[in-house]
């Protein structure tokens, strides 16, 4: 047989993948452990965007992807989607959260007090270059407060609601299995409130920031104030079939309420897995702005939710690397015909001296 079916493609992709993996070297338990303990805020961000709370798996995904965030998130999402949904946890309110940081920009002091918690907000952003010379950077010890703050903190909106500043909404009683679940249903518009908040909870941090920033900067009618920003550990409480509610552990969460002062006081809300302040502030702003009539595209619900999806946006962007020669050939064919038409027309004009009326059928 003179012709051998070329299998170059399969060989090439195999070797290309090996090249990537051998550059990274062996992935060991120690490496995964180092990622998990050394980069907790990165782990948080990845868990939020993957909508899967599992620090070990998040660290493994990051190690396996060499730190490529979009690859890591795809790895986790593809794993997550194969897992059965065995139960729905009990709802968690703000006052249930074991709060480590609670700040409000709306008042100088708030019920429970402003609790700074762990933050770099007021730090001087200086690199500790001595570490590179071999001198360890050992942080100063924290001096505990004379009176520790209580583990749970009141909600500022409760006070605002009691004052009649914000209208209260009765909590809807929805059976756990009837709560819309974005991971099992398509996102349709206008989006269900649950879908919108779920979609923002697992949105791309960078994309959400870009649209949120555009909205804050002026492409919107809302000017948000951070009513409450909270970093906390949320208890995961499950209901046993016999009715007992028990704790199944805790997850780190961030949540924000932003408040608009435009017409009346309106709230925008966002919460996500992990401690990721930039994302929840941007997302809560987008939640608020997208509820206004005729929002700018940067805050339009459909525009925001579609374009901040990390797996979909990154996947589509890199798909342009795939061959497109069939579609290109098809367009080339149409372009060549137009060219041929033009030169035929020019030739005809030269012969007839005057432009002939188009009497022949216009062929495609």
């Amino acid at each position: 047989m003179a012709y051998v079916a070329t299998r170059g493609g399969e060989y090439a992709i195999e070797q290309a993948e090996r090249l990537f993996r051998s550059d990274l070297g062996p992935i060991t338990r120690e490496r995964v452990e180092a990622v998990r303990t050394g980069l907790p805020y990165l782990i948080d961000r990845v868990m939020g965007e993957a909508s899967l709370y599992e620090p070990d798996l998040a660290a493994l995904a990051l190690a396996q992807a060499g730190g490529d965030l979009y690859e890591a998130i795809l790895l986790l999402r593809a794993y997550r989607t194969t897992q059965p949904r065995i139960a729905v946890a009990e709802p968690v309110g703000q006052t249930d959260l074991f709060t480590v940081r609670l700040i409000s920009a709306a008042f100088k002091d708030i019920p429970g007090g402003q609790i700074l918690g762990p933050t770099l907000d007021y730090s001087h952003r200086l690199l500790q270059v001595d570490v590179l010379k071999g001198e360890d950077y050992v942080p100063e010890p924290v001096i505990p407060a004379a009176k520790p703050a209580p583990a749970t903190q009141p909600s500022l909106t409760s006070w605002q609601k009691a004052q009649g500043l914000i209208p209260g909404h009765a909590a809807q009683d929805v059976a756990p299995d009837d709560i819309p679940d974005l991971t099992r249903e398509p996102l349709l518009f206008p989006a269900a409130r649950a879908h919108k908040l779920q979609s923002l909870a697992r949105s791309d941090t960078g994309g959400t920031l870009a649209l949120g920033y555009a909205t804050m900067r002026g492409y919107s009618s809302v000017h948000p104030t951070v009513n409450e920003l909270r970093l906390a550990e949320a208890p995961v409480r499950m209901r046993h079939p016999c009715g007992t509610v028990f704790s199944a552990g805790r997850v780190r969460v961030s949540q924000t309420e932003v408040i608009s002062k435009a017409r009346e006081l309106e709230l925008g809300f966002s919460a996500t897995f992990g401690w990721n302040e930039v994302k929840v502030i941007a997302a809560a702003t987008l939640d608020l702005a997208s509820s206004q009539p005729n929002p700018h595209p940067a805050a339009n619900e459909e525009f925001v939710l579609y374009h901040t999806e990390p797996v979909e946006s990154s996947g589509f962007c890199i798909h342009f690397k795939l061959p497109h020669y069939v579609t290109f050939q098809s367009s080339l064919d149409a372009l060549r015909r137009v060219k041929a038409d033009k030169s035929a027309d020019a030739a005809k004009t030269a012969v007839n001296e005057k432009p002939a009326a188009r009497q022949e059928e216009v062929a495609l």
């Binding site: 194969t82 497109h324 069939v326 050939q329 098809s330 149409a334 372009l335 495609l364």
Partner: protein
């Protein structure tokens, strides 16, 4: 009775990767899509272990249809050997134990990106087309909610206007691939970015075609023996790519869709886009016993 007897042994992944509830949802959406030809049915579209935009919609359909007796062919731009097609075929084999093939006639499921094979498909074969953008109205209406209403009203005036504008501006209809087509005289669909050459193959076909957009979460179908008519004006006939007289430099076959290969001397060579169809012709010319199926096009023309 022991607890162990009631449970199944732990496995890393379900057969066909997707879990059963995901497959059940897919089957229901597929049935709905078949029941309303050309209508875009929204579906959850689970993440799969390949990137969005790389065939995740097609892959979810293939994984749902998969059974151990399936024979699967995967093509990208007409080629079985394309890197992404190889990767998807390997994955399907890995999680479903399906037999892999490159022969259109042998396949029970054909997942394809941007081409329909040249050999006619039969009633017992299913064509799964990967779709990047399921919405034919996207260019005239980027807002999905509004576009859905337009489909509901069969409001396709703006699509005709786009074609008319091309005709006025360029003297020709410039739509290359993804030619908007009316299905069952009711819904306009995009046939996915297949060339115009392939669109007539969907009309009154013997086989079922399922089109699936994973990233955009929409699935639609052309059931067997359903009309698929490209949008054309009465006095401007539909015209496929001018490939009737092109000859494949490798197989010497004329009258099928070709890949154009630019040459150093400024000329072009052509090769069959349907790669395995070409291989079969070459083998046949070397007196190997090869069965070549009936083709949609004969002498560069469709009957």
């Amino acid at each position: 009775m022991k607890l162990q007897e009631l449970t199944k042994p732990w496995v890393a992944f379900n057969y066909g990767f997707l879990d059963e509830s995901a497959k059940r949802e897919m089957r229901r959406r597929i049935l709905k899509a078949i029941a309303v030809p050309g209508y875009q049915v929204p579906y959850a579209s689970r993440e799969v272990p390949i990137a969005r935009g790389w065939g995740t919609g097609g892959l979810q359909v293939t994984l749902t249809l998969l059974k151990p007796t399936s024979v699967v062919k995967v093509i990208d731009q007409g080629s079985d050997d394309s890197v992404n097609a190889s990767s998807i075929r390997k994955f399907v084999g890995r999680v479903g134990g399906a037999v892999e093939t490159e022969d259109t006639m042998a396949a029970t499921i054909i997942q394809s990106r941007h081409r329909i094979p040249e050999e006619k498909l039969r009633e017992d074969q299913i064509l799964v087309l990967q779709v990047p953008d399921p919405e034919p109205l996207r260019a005239v209406q980027p807002d999905l909610s509004v576009a859905r209403e337009m489909h509901g009203d069969a409001d396709y005036g703006q699509l005709w206007l786009v074609l008319y504008e091309q005709l006025v501006k360029s003297g020709r209809i410039m739509q290359g691939s993804s030619y908007p087509s009316m299905v069952n005289r009711r819904h306009v669909m995009t046939p996915s970015p297949i060339p115009r050459w392939d669109v007539p193959k969907l009309n009154q076909a013997d086989h079922l075609t399922i089109l699936s957009a994973g990233r955009e979460k929409r699935i639609f179908a052309v059931p067997p023996y359903t009309s698929v008519e490209p949008l054309v004006f009465d006095d401007v006939p539909y015209r496929v790519e001018d490939h009737q007289d092109k000859t494949c430099y490798r197989s010497n076959v004329t009258g099928f869709f070709m890949n154009e290969l630019p040459q150093d001397d400024g000329s072009s060579q052509y090769e069959l886009s349907d790669s395995h169809f070409g291989i079969k012709h070459i083998r046949k010319s070397e007196a190997e016993p090869v069965a070549i199926g009936e083709t949609w096009y004969n002498n560069g023309k469709m009957d």
